[in-house]
């Protein structure tokens, strides 16, 4: 037995409400059904009236300690027991614990003839008997219109029904009365005339071969209530209603930032990554690396020990794991550790709302820190853009309110700014755009941050490379030749390298030339100096010789004079 104790915010003061315990119904009714009054639940055959009514009793008995009485006019208690066993409820157990009493009222027109005035006191007595047996606080009459098949005197019936509803009010039991949908009226026999406090309609709508159950509160006297058509589903845990549009925008936010799993992308978000609890949209054309971005983020989250829920709508989990392993991201250990759960479903498996309900249920059950959906665009195939948008809105709201980081991929058809994405991008806090740049016969992936609310972020386009070690972001070449990626970037870089090398070599050559010239110059200087020195020597010698010869000459003369004995 699943237990879902929900906190019920009462919108109205004054009117006491009786919590149904049905997932979502208490939210849209602002706390439950009107306490001590009858509520009419109507709809066509097979829309879930009996399930809703019975679940109201069962949850009341199990969660709120309010025993209930189920008066059935159509199904036998044996059938009911069988049907609800499939939903995980053991009616016989509840009956033996005096939490539930079922009375089957069989009306066989063929064996009955009317012989004058009568009233329905028998019904009252049996109802009272049942109520007293279990001290019931809740009563279901399913469907009381069965009476109209048994008796022809409609005037008496109507008077008795009126009496019955006021009698129920007097008893102070909270009642659900179900009714078949009529052609022009809510119910075939106009029961809404008698039950004026609260009317709920159920419908089973089928669009494009995908059926969705919807619930609407037509009327709730004295109380605020959600007025929309709320989708709901019946599964092995009973009814779940999605009240998401009733959520306001008053959720708390987190200032914490969490890594994207790609270091270079973190630095693009001023170093820290996404905000926790924000919604991130990764959009791009086919094969631009969206799932890889998601996987990097999930991988990083799991490394931090966070729980991740990964919804995939176009691949099988095994396929994703294999593909991600090829770029060095191994998700499998996280699954084994219980940190990561995949939920794969074909978009066309069921209606959009059903997907949303499933996603919600999974989230409530798994309590993840991160929810990834790949891709949300596939869901657009099964609904209109408006429906999808409203669904994503509700999902994003729900995630934000629970401070769960949501990351979604969106497959776009072309590089024109994604008309479909525009619809939902306004809900997203961060939008990463992946693009294929096709130049010179090759395609390269690029990434940029289109927006990121509440944080500085780089406005630069980065080239996204899928390597053996995950995603790498590279600066694209930005220069005179424009933005280049891939081999064009590489070749441009090579050209520049070569040019730089040539320049460097030229410089070195000039340096050597200069050195050489200096050496020549110096050699010349040395030679000249040597020449000068030798000339100087010669000159000195000449001078000395001259002096010597002069002296000699003088001496010679003197000597001659002496010899000649010349008188002076």
């Amino acid at each position: 037995m699943p237990k879902q104790n929900k906190t019920n915010k009462s919108v109205m003061i004054g009117l006491t409400k009786c919590p149904t315990g049905i997932q979502g119904l208490d939210e849209i009714t602002g706390g439950g059904l009107p306490q001590g009054r009858p509520t009419l639940v109507c709809g066509s055959a097979g829309c879930g009236k009996t399930v809703l009514a019975m679940e109201f009793l069962l949850r009341g008995a199990l969660q709120y300690n309010e025993p209930g009485v189920f008066i059935c006019f159509e199904e036998t208690p044996e059938d009911l027991t069988k049907n609800f066993a499939a939903l995980g409820f053991d009616l016989n157990d509840l009956i033996s614990r005096k939490l539930l009493d079922i009375d089957y009222i069989r009306i066989e027109r063929s064996e009955m003839s009317e012989t004058g005035e009568f009233n329905l006191e028998g019904l009252f007595v049996r109802l009272e008997l049942a109520i007293n047996t279990v001290k019931a606080k809740r009563v279901v009459l399913d469907t009381i219109e069965g009476l109209f098949a048994g008796f022809s005197n409609e005037a008496i019936l109507r008077a008795e029904l009126r009496r019955l509803f006021s009698w129920l009010k007097e008893k102070g039991v909270t009642a659900i009365i179900t009714g078949e949908q009529g052609e022009k009226t809510l119910t075939r026999y106009g029961l809404e005339e008698y039950v004026a406090d609260c009317v709920i309609t159920l419908a089973h709508v089928s669009t494009e071969q995908i059926a969705t159950r919807r619930l609407r509160i037509v009327k709730y006297r004295g109380s605020l209530h959600g007025t929309n058509d709320y989708p709901f589903l019946i599964d092995e845990q009973g009814i779940s209603i999605l009240p998401i549009t009733s959520m306001g925008l008053d959720h708390a936010v987190s200032d914490e930032k969490i890594s994207t799993g790609i270091p270079r992308l973190d630095t693009m978000f001023t170093g820290n990554g996404y905000y926790r609890g924000s919604s991130i949209l990764v959009s791009g054309t086919s094969g631009s690396g969206k799932t890889s971005i998601l996987s990097e983020f999930i991988n990083a989250a799991c490394k931090r020990g966070e729980r991740c829920l990964f919804f995939i709508f176009e691949e099988s989990p095994a396929q994703v794991i294999r593909n991600m392993r090829s770029i060095g991201i191994d998700l499998e250990p996280w699954i084994k550790k219980g940190l990561l759960r995949f939920h794969a479903a074909r978009p066309s498996l069921y209606g959009l709302e059903m997907h949303l309900v499933t996603i919600h249920k999974q989230i409530k059950e798994f309590k993840p820190d991160v929810v990834a959906i790949d891709p949300i665009s596939n869901l657009m195939n099964i609904g209109t853009l408006k429906e999808t948008k409203s669904m994503i809105t509700r999902l994003a709201d729900f995630l934000k309110a629970s401070i769960i980081t949501g990351i979604f991929t969106n497959l776009t058809q072309s590089d024109s700014l994604e008309e479909t994405a525009v619809g939902i991008s306004s809900l997203m806090d961060t939008w990463l755009l992946l693009r294929d740049l096709e130049v010179n016969g090759e395609r390269n992936r690029s990434l940029y941050i289109l927006k990121s609310r509440g944080m500085k972020h780089s406005n630069q386009v980065r080239e996204l490379l899928l390597t053996d070690k995950g995603i790498e972001l590279q600066d694209v070449y930005v220069g005179a030749a424009g933005v280049l990626t891939g081999s064009a970037r590489l070749s441009q870089e090579a050209v520049e390298k070569a040019e730089a090398l040539i320049g460097k070599q030229g410089f070195e050559f000039m340096q050597r030339e200069l050195e050489r010239k200096r050496k020549i110059l110096e050699a010349q200087i040395t030679a000249m100096r040597t020449e000068f020195e030798s000339e100087e020597d010669n000159l000195k010698r000449a001078v000395a010789e001259e002096k010597l010869s002069e002296k000699v000459t003088v001496q010679d003369r003197a000597d001659m004079g002496k010899l000649r004995k010349a008188d002076k």
Binding site: S113, N119, G122, R126
Partner: protein, 96 residues
């Protein structure tokens, strides 16, 4: 009321206390029985307020209700038993 061994008609009338309809029904059915089934019937009058469990077992919704338990098939007559002709037909005392 006759208690002979050759009881052919076992009748049970459910009433709700002493409401006018109930009182009238008892009077009417007694007259019919005495007149058409004298010595051949067993009529039991049950007050649903006293015996609600019986009412549940006999699938009583409206009161007064007359059950013809025997002879089979089971027949139900709802009302104050004022439509004598219809009761006589239903009890196979008159050709249809």
């Amino acid at each position: 009321m006759s208690k002979s061994k050759a009881v052919e008609n076992v009748l049970r009338l459910y009433v709700a206390g002493t409401t006018p309809n109930s009182v009238r029904a008892i009077e009417n059915i007694k007259l019919i029985c005495e007149e058409y089934l004298e010595g051949r019937y067993d009529l039991e009058v049950i007050d649903i307020y006293q015996q609600p469990v019986l009412a549940k077992g006999d699938q009583i919704i409206a009161v007064p209700t007359l059950l013809r338990k025997l002879p089979t098939p089971l027949r139900k007559f709802v009302g104050d038993m004022s439509a004598t002709e219809r009761i006589l037909v239903g009890l196979d005392l008159r050709p249809k």
